[in-house]
Assembly symmetry: C2
Homo-oligomer: 220 residues x 2
């Protein structure tokens, strides 16, 4: 990149970092545990989130923000889970930024929430550089994408706090090599915790909720 | 976006357009038909390209450039097809640009090629804005990603000349709704041609090659 572009990009990131820091303080003040989800388009973020919201709403006050370039399909879909959901439509912007999250939360009573999920635009590259004030960033990767994705998109795995492998019910059909996928994830991010809950069959969801309880420090 | 960012971005795009125009002229002078492939990470670009190169090399002189943030896995994999392949490693850049293509072609005898394939970084957003001098841009979408992707990522479908649906052998396993997917593609890009060749089973590949022959104007 030319020096001027780098300079502008750094300015944008610095501004985003400052906004994200303020958001994080705000989330802390209201004791809201914030989880963001990043992945390729179609890796199953929304299906995973839908199942999570439906199951968790009995225990905690949960809500979600969902990002897409266009449409409010996801907000409508997740809204059926019976929890508050707002859509962020980015237009041509390939990732969420802290200011978009702040704008979407306008008028939302954070104090009434225990946990907020933020689903990013489907993109395995650009969201990695933008802090959203989240406490936990989860990268999802589906078995259908191929075991090599962590090696090809290292930054997004590097900046995540937890990895979730999705669509495990298709593992046999696509000949998914689990050990290789785990090895590749940990090659770019040593020690990263990996879970494999299935939103479709429900298997492993209990383990995910238990982990979320531990990480959030929320009682039940 | 802030005015200054927009201005810089427009400058980058304009510079890219000029470079792409020169590339297109160069491809024309050497009678090389250039096809670019864009899709989500893991949609099957490389598997599709591998099958295509292996089958076409008996008919035409084919070659490929493959883009990734990191690794040269794809170039090594495609090189086994016995055709010239070069890797473009973008680092943190989320898309290919015309200058990267020009640099990668340095010293390559274009006159010896009939057809050049350019596989972009897996990203359903950013590559759409960057002309690479290609004659044909193909967007690939796998059945496992969900039928709604064209609606959520309209620009990349809008800027494509042909859509290919991949992993059709998994259509039943994931409950893929074909008519809905086609309708969504054509909602954002009326009349866009859609093919469904399977690199895994070989079904439909003949139709794809026939179409490529017609579009390229190359004899066989």
């Amino acid at each position: 990149m030319q020096p001027r572009i780098v300079e502008v990009r750094e300015g944008v990131l610095k501004k985003n970092d400052l906004r994200a820091r303020r958001l994080r303080e705000e989330f802390g003040e209201h004791a809201v545990f914030v989880v963001s989800l990043v992945s390729s388009p179609g890796a199953g973020k929304t299906a995973f989130l839908e199942k999570t919201l439906r199951d968790l709403k009995a225990v905690w006050a949960v809500g979600a923000l969902v990002g897409d370039l266009a449409t409010d399909c996801d907000a409508r879909r997740l809204g059926q889970a019976g929890v508050p959901v707002r859509q962020i439509t980015t237009g041509t912007v390939c990732h969420l930024e802290a200011q978009m999250v702040a704008d979407a939360l306008e008028g939302w009573d954070l104090a009434a929430l225990d946990m907020l999920f933020i689903e990013n635009v489907g993109n395995l590259v650009c969201p990695s550089s933008y802090d959203l004030g989240e406490a936990l960033r989860i990268v999802l990767m589906s078995v259908t994408e191929g075991e090599d994705k962590p090696l090809k998109y290292p930054t997004i795995f590097n900046s995540a706090d937890l990895a979730i492998i999705t669509k495990v019910d298709l593992a046999d059909a696509v000949g998914f090599r689990r050990a290789e996928a785990h090895r590749n994830i940990r090659e770019v991010r040593p020690g990263l915790e990996i879970l494999e809950p299935s939103a479709r069959t429900g298997e492993g969801m209990e383990g995910w909720f238990r982990r979320l309880r531990e990480l959030s420090g929320l009682g039940s």
